[in-house]
Symmetry: C3
Subunit: 308 residues, 3 copies
């Protein structure tokens, strides 16, 4: 029995020695996924006070609770940012520098100081979600129940860290939200005020997307890159589309390419595949589907063949 365990272990250790890319041994510490999940949850508490707590918060007691959360996040986020900079320092920090701890702390403070302005943006998103969905009974329902609120809050937080060129952490944050909500908002995307994604599942907003104000998406919408066979050579280029203000995109539509601009007040219908710009006030709809009406007997005869 112990012999079997030893044998399997040896084979695995051999495999760890042979293959490089999927081991993380003898290297530098990576930021911890678990720690970042806890930090992100705490940041959501700071953004939406009273919504994630079991008991009611009174404004008289809000100060100590907030200070405790701020202190917690300040310490743990600075540790993770230090690991992240140690691991892969951005170009502007490369060279002589060895101890990234003071820089990480300064970044963290800067980041926490920006929470009030992030909250102002989130306020507009919550309004857009409430106003845009007749199924929403109250703004509280939107914040408590809608996956969108969590996903956009995490993206706006991660975007702030992304702009500071902090590696790994922004993406770990948005993938945490992606797993919980089905909505994949890259931390690099620039997103205006009053954004709303209804139902969320399957919608993807790529890294270099630019989104204006009052934009509304539905589930399964892709704002994606073309020419993807070039892979890494495209890094840094604008690869994803631009949506101007007041654009609406229905379920399952795909808009592709860095030069594609959807003009303001345009509507893209469900399941459209758009890879060229459209001017303001456009309405783009898929060709009417080809419809066949068959009677019961015909259908039974064709039962084995969906395609007809």
């Amino acid at each position: 029995m112990q012999a079997t365990i030893n044998e399997i272990t040896e084979r695995l250790v051999d495999s760890y020695c042979k293959s490089g890319g999927i081991n993380h041994l003898d290297g530098k510490n990576l930021p911890s996924k678990r720690a970042i999940a806890v930090i992100t949850m705490d940041l959501l508490r700071l953004c939406f006070p009273g919504f994630f707590d079991e008991k009611l918060l009174h404004s008289s007691e809000i100060r100590p609770g907030t200070a405790a959360l701020v202190s917690e996040v300040l310490n743990s986020l600075a540790v993770e940012i230090t690991k992240s900079l140690d691991y892969n320092p951005p170009p502007e920090l490369q060279g002589g520098k060895k101890d990234f701890r003071p820089i990480a702390r300064a970044y963290t403070i800067e980041f926490l100081n920006s929470l009030p302005s992030i909250r102002e943006l989130l306020q507009t998103d919550a309004e857009a979600a409430y106003n845009g969905d007749p199924a929403a009974l109250s703004k509280e329902e939107v914040i408590v129940a809608y996956p969108f609120v969590e996903a956009i809050a995490v993206q706006r937080l991660a975007h702030n860290l992304y702009l500071k060129n902090i590696p790994l952490i922004p993406r770990i944050m948005t993938e945490w939200a992606h797993a919980r909500t089905g909505l994949d908002l890259h931390p690099g995307a620039e997103i205006g005020t009053h954004f709303f994604v209804d139902h969320c599942t399957g919608t993807v907003v790529g890294e270099t997307t630019r989104i204006g104000d009052h934009v509304k998406l539905y589930q399964g919408v892709g704002l994606v890159a073309s020419s993807l066979s070039e892979g890494q050579r495209l890094r840094g280029r604008k690869r994803h589309p631009t949506l101007e203000d007041h654009v609406t995109i229905y379920a399952g539509a795909t808009v592709m390419g860095g030069d594609t601009v959807v003009g303001e007040y345009s509507t893209i219908g469900a399941n459209v595949f758009l890879k060229a710009s459209v001017p303001a006030h456009s309405l783009v709809v898929q060709e009417q589907a080809n419809m066949k009406v068959m009677n019961k007997k015909e259908r039974q005869k064709k039962a084995a063949d969906f395609a007809v």
Copy 2:
């Protein structure tokens, strides 16, 4: 250090004072998301006895275990419903009434008494899932492994509370299931017997949808509302489609609008966007895609341009 924490805290507290909609302070208690998650999991245990437990259940010992779960749910659900009614009493309960606890308890008992009839519906769904998927090896596999079973069970439970006009809780329940399964079934939807959604991810069934018996959907199907720019003005109107008995809708199809009726025994093909009614026995398929076959050289020349 403490000064920094205080400074950040002050900025946040200022922000809490300024912006209203995304704070929950000094208000009434909201139903607890965490408590509702525990209750929902317990309800799934009551619906599918023996499936979510580590050790085998014998029918001789089923009574005490069931009674313990019932007692647990009765107490905790009554507390959450009380909070929910306090928070936002439905029209028929507004006026003089102050103590909603007896009403919440009565609702909870009524709800628990309806579990056997909800179980009868779920039995038909499990049958439909097993019969409809050749990859299913046994009914046990369907109940243990298929995300659909969890999602439809939660919807049928939440629909019962939705019909009692209890705010917030039904939606928190279905969003809990949505996060776990990718299937977004609104608690308001009326769903017949023998329902099945294969693969689940990205399928959305809107609030005022009506679904007949023996209906089968695939992943990424949207039963959605049109004219969404009107937002809150549409609340309460039938905004989502009606599917009659024995309708099948393939992956990625979108059916839109409150007046759209898909007649019985109809099939809607993948990626179709349908916004008008179709009679019984219809087969609706997307126009044949435009196909181009290029040789290797042409492809290489065009490598940078997906669009051709």
Copy 3:
């Protein structure tokens, strides 16, 4: 109060007696979902050493940690496989045999011995993910943050157990990954080297799918079966498509049917519905959507009617 609980309990127990399919009472033990989740997580740790741990691993200390994990998985997986074989022995094990424990242990050892070769495949997938996505900053980011890596690792592990005809466990494993990533890869699918699914959410790869090397899919892609009304009668038949080497399929496309072969180096555009084979080097794109450009006044007049 106790009377109410007893009454509800009696109604439920009556319902448990009446309806069969959704109870699991007096039967044999089912494999435990929770135990399988823990085992799967441990297997991911064995596949990607150092990536899921909080503190840095040195190669000098890798042996004891690996041996401990191997021992843990060996014991617990053998228990679950025993339950699974007891529950529903595959044809080749039916007849006289009563004690499946030695067979389960032998299967588990065989499975653990195959981890190095599974790791070689996963190495090619991680490479494909990094090379194929310009948003990826490093291979570490791919492994730490991308849902795809987790989903494909679980599929390749489960596929190994699937080939041994072990019931229930492979599907419970892939559904665990499906819930976490939105990517539904059936354990039966045969998948070549250098596979990559970007964004993951909503993509479905059916049981009898065959996928060559260097294949790239995007979110919302369905590799699905046709003629599904026949349900269980189709079990065991090849029902899902074949993709040859170097095929790329964009978001939301559906490829259907067991005889459908997508030739090597072909590209299928977004939202295409394909149900016939295409030769090598094909490019299949959806017909250009019908575009209408309306001015502001026309749009306002039509505000109530999306369909125009």
